[in-house]
């Protein structure tokens, strides 16, 4: 039985991707490397132990109880301040506190800027707790903390990061595959051969796009599988919305890749620029660093990055952070329309020979 040209084209494009080790690695397995690294590094990881806070106490209210009640630290007692300092020198501890009932003296290793960045907050909260504990305070404000869910699940910090990595996976498939494949075809002259083939430009573009969608879907399933089964991510997945997110976001990211190919004539320049954009988006789209902590000019810049909006759609689809459905539709339509228009334009630009005009 004869297959339709479209199915043959999709199969050919997909097989070509599967044979390309680099493409498979960067689209499917590279995001998994991020899942393992950042999933394990996150303090909510099951394997990640609570940070030790060493202490020595000569007098005053019981500091061990105060440290335990903070919830953030695991107290470890030392016999004298020198033993505490030695433990810091040896790298057993990052932070220690010696308390004589009057002064809480905090020890940290010189050059340990990670601990230093948290030191002020730890000092203030621990001394405040000690003063409260010692003074039997009648507070003016009695503070209680309430954790709210912005979606359908009580998400953890790691869930946010994993959702961000899924967005990066979609970015990677959409952006990089279009740049590498069109770039490769253009360099090898295959695009010129396609121009004279009895194939409508849109058929090729559709076949190519469909094969990328399959790849994007496999990447999505792999990351989701590892996140849920391996790292116990608490997602409440809305599959239809996730499917819409995947299709629209892949199209949107392909649009970005095609834009680069149209702007830069040299495919290698387009490839490098895509890599630069990926790097900028990783850091400024609010996935690994909260946007609130970025300097003002970087905050403004982050609003222009499509990855930020893809991660909003992914978080909505995974039930982590819901947005109004109108906003979901608007964002996904913008990404999809951008993708379709750019694919049409790219089909005209790359696949229609001069004589056909």
């Amino acid at each position: 039985m004869n297959k339709s040209p479209f199915v043959s084209l999709v199969q050919a494009c997909f097989r070509e991707s599967l044979r390309n080790k680099a493409e498979i690695f960067f689209n499917l397995f590279f995001p998994l490397l991020f899942v393992f690294i950042f999933g394990s590094l996150h303090p909510e990881s099951e394997n990640y132990h609570k940070t030790w806070l060493g202490f020595y106490q000569s007098r005053g209210p019981d500091i061990e109880t105060v440290i335990s009640q903070s919830g953030a630290w695991e107290p470890r007692r030392y016999d004298d301040p020198e033993a505490l300092k030695d433990a810091i020198r040896r790298g057993e501890l990052n932070l220690g506190v010696s308390f004589d009932g009057q002064i809480a003296r905090f020890f940290f290793k010189e050059g340990d800027l990670i601990t230093l960045s948290k030191l002020k907050l730890v000092q203030l909260s621990l001394t405040a707790s000690l003063e409260k504990h010692a003074s039997r305070l009648q507070p003016m404000f009695t503070i209680s903390r309430q954790e709210e869910s912005a979606g359908k699940v009580m998400a953890s910090g790691r869930d946010y990061i994993l959702a961000g990595i899924i967005a990066i996976g979609i970015l990677s498939v959409g952006l990089m595959s279009v740049v590498t494949m069109f770039g490769r075809y253009s360099k090898s002259g295959a695009l010129n051969q396609l121009k004279i083939a009895p194939l409508r430009p849109m058929s090729f573009v559709m076949g190519f796009t469909f094969s990328r969608m399959i790849l994007s879907f496999i990447s999505l399933l792999l990351i989701l599988g590892v996140s849920v089964l391996g790292l116990a991510a608490s997602f409440d997945i809305n599959w239809p919305l996730l499917f819409i997110t995947m299709v629209s976001s892949t199209l949107g990211m392909m649009a970005l890749g095609l834009l680069l190919l149209l702007v830069f004539r040299n495919p290698e320049t387009a490839n490098t620029t895509a890599g630069i954009l990926m790097f900028i988006m990783h850091f400024l789209a609010g996935i690994f660093f909260p946007i609130a902590m970025l300097p003002g000019y970087m905050k403004a810049f982050s609003a222009l990055l499509p990855l930020k909006y893809v991660s909003i759609l992914v978080r909505h689809s995974l039930g982590i952070e819901l947005i109004p459905i109108s906003q979901f539709l608007l964002l996904s339509s913008c990404l999809a329309l951008g993708g379709v228009s750019m694919l049409w334009l790219a089909g005209r630009k790359f696949l229609v020979s001069e004589s056909r005009h």
Binding site: E110, G111, A134, E147, G157, F289
Partner: protein, 377 residues
């Protein structure tokens, strides 16, 4: 003379590639600027800004005046919060859930009692870092306000003083800033990019398209070809290093021993170690695509597991063994020690011996495959 002409040609062919120029030179410098901007404030929240929604159904009451004064002290130009007063908890929580607000404070003014004070509920989004940080800061501010009030009205209030002491591992350890801490990591990143990607890619390319075979029909010997390749790599590493030094010295004011002989020797050890690992990649990977896959994976593992940007000693042992295996853990620590910064409790000799072991093992693997890698089989 022939050797230098060949090296020059090799180098020019390499540096004319936009990819090489960007990833080896521009990218690490950009990363240095970016990370210094984001993390280089040593914990001072000068660039943070959070949206705080306050629900206070009786704002005119005397009891809430202190709360408002506290807010004035931490909002606008005085602090990180941008305060919005909203009419109901429902409205505020909706704004929190849709991301318009980072934290919500609800004052239960009707429930004020002399013994309990004003109950304040701080609402934040579970798992969302910006919301959690905002709530932590606000909670701390309110706790401190409680204590200040108590200090004024209770003469017997027991004040706890705070002090901090940096534990130096060596007597000469100076004060360091994040830009100092980052400098060795960025220097090694530059080397990683050249050694793990550029070097095996160019060897693989010359081999696969047959250029090396053609070269060996000339009087040039394989060792000369290899020497030219190494010299080219060293020059490609030195150019970005000089730029990094200039940026660190003139823009960020990094000092701390980066011009000391010990630091330069550590940089040389880093170059030799990473280049030898790159040669192993060229030995085991047949195609350019394999080089990309192996090179990129190693690049990420050596960078993140080497503790370039964040501490890795808190990792579980299922991953921490990797920290001890990769040479970058030792190289970055050795370079940091050259600047007077010590982050690991390990004798300096190990920081030299482990990378040297990598060099010996890698060069043994490479020398067995020398003819294959050079394309001179």
């Amino acid at each position: 003379m022939r050797f230098w002409r060949f090296t020059r040609g090799f180098f020019l062919a390499e540096i004319r590639e936009f990819e090489v120029l960007f990833w080896s030179i521009v990218f690490p410098l950009l990363l240095y600027v970016f990370l210094s901007a984001v993390l280089g404030n040593d914990g001072k929240p000068r660039s943070m800004s959070f949206n705080l929604a306050v629900v206070n159904t009786n704002p005119a009451s005397d009891e809430t005046a202190i709360f408002n004064q506290t807010l004035d002290a931490v909002s606008g130009a005085e602090g990180p919060f941008k305060v919005t007063f909203l009419g109901s908890s429902e409205e505020a929580l909706e704004a929190l859930k849709t991301g318009k607000q980072d934290v919500v404070a609800v004052l239960a003014v009707g429930k004020i009692t002399r013994s309990r004070g004003i109950p304040i509920s701080l609402h934040s989004i579970s798992g969302k870092e910006s919301s959690q940080v905002a709530a932590n800061i606000l909670e701390l501010v309110l706790e401190k306000t409680n204590l200040e009030i108590e200090r004024h009205r209770n003469p017997a209030f027991q004040h706890i003083g705070m002090a901090e002491e940096a534990v130096t591992v060596s007597a000469s350890s100076p004060k360091v800033a994040y830009k100092d801490y980052l400098f060795p990591a960025v220097a090694l990143m530059m080397m990683l990019s050249v050694a793990l990607l550029n070097s095996p890619l160019s060897l693989g390319f010359y081999r696969s398209v047959g250029i090396s075979r053609k070269i060996f029909t000339t009087p040039l010997r394989p060792l000369e070809y290899f020497g030219a390749h190494l010299t080219k790599l060293l020059i490609t590493m030195l150019i970005p290093l000089v730029l990094l030094y200039a940026m660190a010295w003139f823009i960020y004011g990094v000092r701390g021993g980066i011009f000391s002989p010990g630091f330069f020797l550590s940089l040389i050890l880093g170059m030799v170690t990473l280049i030898s690992i790159g040669l192993v990649i060229a030995s085991v990977a047949g195609k350019e695509s394999s080089v990309m896959v192996i090179g990129q994976t190693l690049y990420q593992v050596l960078m993140f597991m080497g503790g370039f940007f964040f501490p890795v000693m808190g990792l579980p042992w299922s991953l921490r063994w990797l920290v001890y295996v990769v040479p970058t853990t030792y190289l970055v620590e050795l370079l940091r020690r050259g600047m007077g910064i010590q982050t690991m409790d390990m004798a300096t000799i190990w920081l030299i011996l482990v990378p040297l072991a990598w060099v010996i093992i890698s060069m043994s693997v490479f020398s067995r495959n020398f003819s294959k890698v050079m394309g001179n089989e």
